[in-house]
Symmetry: C2
């Protein structure tokens, strides 16, 4: 799998928050509401979203009318931001064959081909923001 499960949950939840913020003009959404709409475990999602707040991507408030919301404008939050907070950046730096120290200096046989593609993937995920995804969701009839 490209991303861990937790990472895919984080992306889906963050996108849903962005959608609600834009479409319904709501700032804070209870995690319970997110978990129910996405069909995910409430407790598990809570733990994952906590990592996003620690990373400064989201902010949370406890108590009644509390919930979680984007800490920055949706157009300034990229998928790489979310991925970095949950899975780290190793996907974009590590060797396809898992060889430590593989790089320009001492490349493995797959290095050039993979390095080129992982960089392209990173660039794409850096260009993709929660706002751009939310816009796509709104215009086309896409699943989330």
């Amino acid at each position: 799998m490209l991303f861990s499960k937790g990472c895919t949950y984080a992306i889906r939840a963050a996108l849903l928050v962005a959608t609600k913020e834009i479409r319904d003009d709501r700032k804070f959404v209870p995690i319970r509401e997110l978990s129910e709409e996405l069909g995910l475990s409430f407790h598990f999602l809570t733990k994952i979203l906590q990592q996003l707040t620690e990373a400064g991507i989201m902010e949370s408030f406890r108590g009644p009318n509390g919930g979680i919301g984007l800490a920055r404008p949706a157009r300034s939050i990229t998928l790489v931001d979310v991925i970095a907070a949950i899975d780290g950046m190793s996907l974009f730096s590590s060797c396809a064959l898992g060889l430590p120290g593989c790089g320009e200096q001492t490349p493995c046989p797959l290095h050039d081909a993979w390095a080129k593609r992982r960089l392209d993937l990173q660039r794409m995920l850096e260009k993709t923001t929660l706002a751009s995804l939310a816009r796509e969701l709104a215009t086309h009839e896409l699943r989330n």
Copy 2:
């Protein structure tokens, strides 16, 4: 991680067998020799290579002077063949967000961008054979 650890071990071992076949004109190599040269657990590597023999990629013989060798010419064994035998093909067909049923009909917001890149990755890994990698290893000074 892109591939499972077992899958990376399988690729590295298969490539080493191909190298020995070409360079030293040896048909069967004991797994113990492979595991020692690659710094991997003998028992674990045995189990993984067993999957390659089951998949018809390698063939094995027991007893003294036994070992494991390529079942077909190295130029006809692609990395996708090895990957399919160990990890399966899900990397090349599954949704980046892990959504079941994501596809052309009901795409997720990331579908187009990822589908394009995973296909490119698959094409590249289909074009890469054990023979072409072994050739690169021989001409350049690459690590394995």
